[in-house]
């Protein structure tokens, strides 16, 4: 059942360009949903609309069947973790975490145990009396999280919370966030532009482009079956070429090569895409068959675990990753085989 509902949200900062264009998003209770998209696509704007820091020009924002569109930020009771953490430098860790409780006029006897609990959950128990300046990046991140969680928010909003951490800590913290989110069962919206981070942490992912949501699905579904060319490109499909439909699951390229797919696609989808990893390289003499296109190596690049080839074919340049045991040199001719089940239409 839908818990959080964004309905036809439109936002324009200057009255001319719409940054969010009738955006719709429905989130279920207890779910962790990610907004994934390139920089500037409107992720932060969406999160700020949810938080109440921006009032949308049009549309409704509903939580738990209550319309909150015009409810000001401070009455929403959502926890937010900012990209910059936005900790209060003049307050200690405990005071930062207790800030929201103090505003709720809680007395010390109910407040202190809550603060202590959350500091323990976030692994900050020893650091309560320090000032933000005396903490490492990862510790600041935890304080921001603790401060947002201690008010028992209806929603937890995180805006690229891990982007300021180094790679190793980032992996550690995202596991941590997932664990805490699960433990408290709190409905969360997580903004990121990092696809691996997003796939590992989310129940569902909304891929955003230019103010709209292109696809909203589980990470597996998005990884295996991107619905649009934009989504496919964003998650690592590099090769795109046009097809003509010949029949159920049967297509031809512009040069007449026959390609079969294992799934059936609706008639609007006529662009084929495939990941460089999913293409097989066969030596030149192999007998020509369906799903094979001949080509010539233009550039070879060593990637460490494999070679990447840029192959010139009559459907355009195709990127292929091949095993490092056999290296084809540039100028060499070969056959590319596109497995039926790996060929996606967008």
């Amino acid at each position: 059942m839908t818990y959080v509902d964004l309905k036809d949200i439109r936002v324009s900062y200057d009255g001319k360009n719409n940054i969010l264009k009738d955006l719709n998003l429905s989130i279920e209770k207890g779910e962790l949903v990610s907004l994934l998209g390139p920089s500037g696509c409107g992720k932060t704007t969406t999160l700020r609309v949810i938080a109440g820091l921006i009032e949308p020009n049009d549309g409704d924002f509903v939580v738990d069947n209550k319309n909150l569109t015009r409810v000001p930020v401070h009455k929403r009771n959502f926890g937010m973790v900012f990209q910059s953490y936005a900790l209060f430098p003049h307050l200690t860790v405990k005071e930062n975490v207790g800030f929201g409780l103090k505003l709720r006029k809680e007395d010390k006897t109910t407040m202190n145990p809550k603060i202590q609990d959350i500091l323990e959950v976030t692994g900050l128990a020893e650091l309560g009396d320090r000032y933000p300046k005396q903490l490492s990046g990862g510790q600041r991140q935890r304080v921001a999280l603790a401060r947002a969680l201690v008010i028992e928010p209806k929603l937890l909003l995180l805006d690229e919370p891990l982007s300021n951490l180094d790679a190793k800590l980032r992996v550690q913290m995202r596991i941590e966030i997932k664990r805490i989110q699960r433990k408290l069962g709190i409905t969360s919206v997580f903004v990121t532009h990092d696809q691996e981070e997003c796939f590992s942490i989310s129940d569902r992912v909304a891929v955003m482009n230019n103010g709209i949501i292109e696809q909203f699905d589980t990470p597996e579904e998005i990884y295996n079956r991107p619905k649009t060319e934009f989504v496919a490109r964003f998650i690592g499909f590099e090769n795109f070429f046009n097809l003509t439909k010949q029949g159920e699951k049967t297509y031809t390229t512009s040069e007449g090569h026959m390609l079969k797919t294992s799934q059936s696609w609706d008639d609007t989808k006529l662009v084929a895409t495939i990941r460089p990893d999913d293409i097989n390289i066969l030596p030149k003499g192999t007998e020509q068959d369906t799903n094979m296109i001949p080509g010539k190596v233009v550039v070879r690049t060593f990637l460490g675990k494999s070679y990447q080839y840029e192959v010139e074919t009559n459907v355009g340049k195709i990127l292929v990753n091949g095993p490092k045991e056999t290296a084809y040199s540039s100028g060499e001719e070969l056959l590319l085989q596109f497995p039926e089940e790996k060929l996606i239409l967008v």
Partner: protein, 277 residues
């Protein structure tokens, strides 16, 4: 040997400072302590005289009131300016700096025209029939306060805009998501973080008011002397350079003590440690 270079660069400025500032000061102040032998007599007798004391307390009172008013008016104004878009900020800064661009004599005459017995305010109130006799506003402590606030508020505002601009707006937003309304967020986040700016601004305003001459002279008149006008009178009218030297040192010491106090208050409220004015 390399690290002596920066010091050498300092010497021209240092010589200038010593010759043109430090030496004259010493030649004025030294005689106030030396009367055949070393003595504090001049200072003791200054503080034993009731009139002198009244001038001293007026100076302190007026300077503190001006500082307080500049804080109260300056903080919200600076917050507003710091939060408007870049486009308007320049214009608003220019407007608030305007008083600094006019000559202080002209500025004070403007206030004489406003506050005087036949001035704009009295005229207006009498025409409306609210008062029948003009109210005495010119040549009072309040007139000095008004004139000085007008003069020094810009200093407070520029200082504070610089500090508030650097407060991350996301901190205010974080406070709001945690349940603070606009006012509470301002009081609990912006104000404490503006403290270094308030201190610097206060020191500028306080020492400015304490040492200004034209404004208290023209708006306070001879019945409402401040230390600066008193000093001038002693030196130029009475030719008493000994007293003038005493007053000069008292002004310097008072300023230093009050600056120290401001900093102590700031340190008490701001426990981040190590990083302010």
């Amino acid at each position: 040997m390399k690290n002596k270079a920066p010091f050498i660069l300092l010497t021209p400025g240092l010589i200038l400072l010593i010759v043109f500032m430090f030496l004259p000061l010493v030649t004025i102040i030294w005689p106030t302590f030396y009367d055949g032998k070393l003595t504090f007599g001049s200072y003791l007798s200054f503080f034993q005289d009731n009139y002198n004391l009244s001038v001293f307390w007026r100076t302190l009172r007026v300077s503190l009131i001006v500082t307080l008013i500049c804080i109260l008016l300056g903080v919200p104004t600076a917050y507003y300016i710091a939060r408007t878009s870049k486009k308007w900020r320049g214009l608003m800064m220019a407007m608030s700096l305007f008083p600094l661009l006019t000559n202080s004599v002209i500025r004070s005459f403007a206030w004489i025209n406003i506050l005087g017995t036949n001035g704009v305010i009295n005229d207006f109130l009498m025409k409306l029939g609210i008062i029948t006799e003009p109210i005495k506003m010119l040549y009072t402590d309040s007139a000095i306060v008004v004139g000085s606030v007008y003069l020094f508020l810009p200093l407070m505002i520029i200082t504070l805009v610089g500090v508030i601009e650097n407060i991350d707006l996301e901190m205010v937003e974080a406070a709001e998501t945690l349940g603070a309304n606009r006012l509470t967020a301002f009081m609990k986040v912006v104000l404490p973080l503006s403290l270094p700016g308030i201190i610097v601004g206060s020191i500028l305003v306080f020492s400015g008011t304490l040492s200004a001459y034209t404004t208290p002279q023209l708006l306070g008149g001879n019945q409402n002397m401040m230390l600066s006008t008193f000093l001038y009178q002693n030196a130029m009218t009475l030719g008493n350079w000994q007293s003038a030297g005493v007053i000069a040192l008292i002004m310097i010491v008072t300023t230093i003590i009050v600056m120290k106090l401001f900093n102590m208050i700031a340190a008490k409220f701001d426990k981040r440690g190590g990083e302010h004015a």
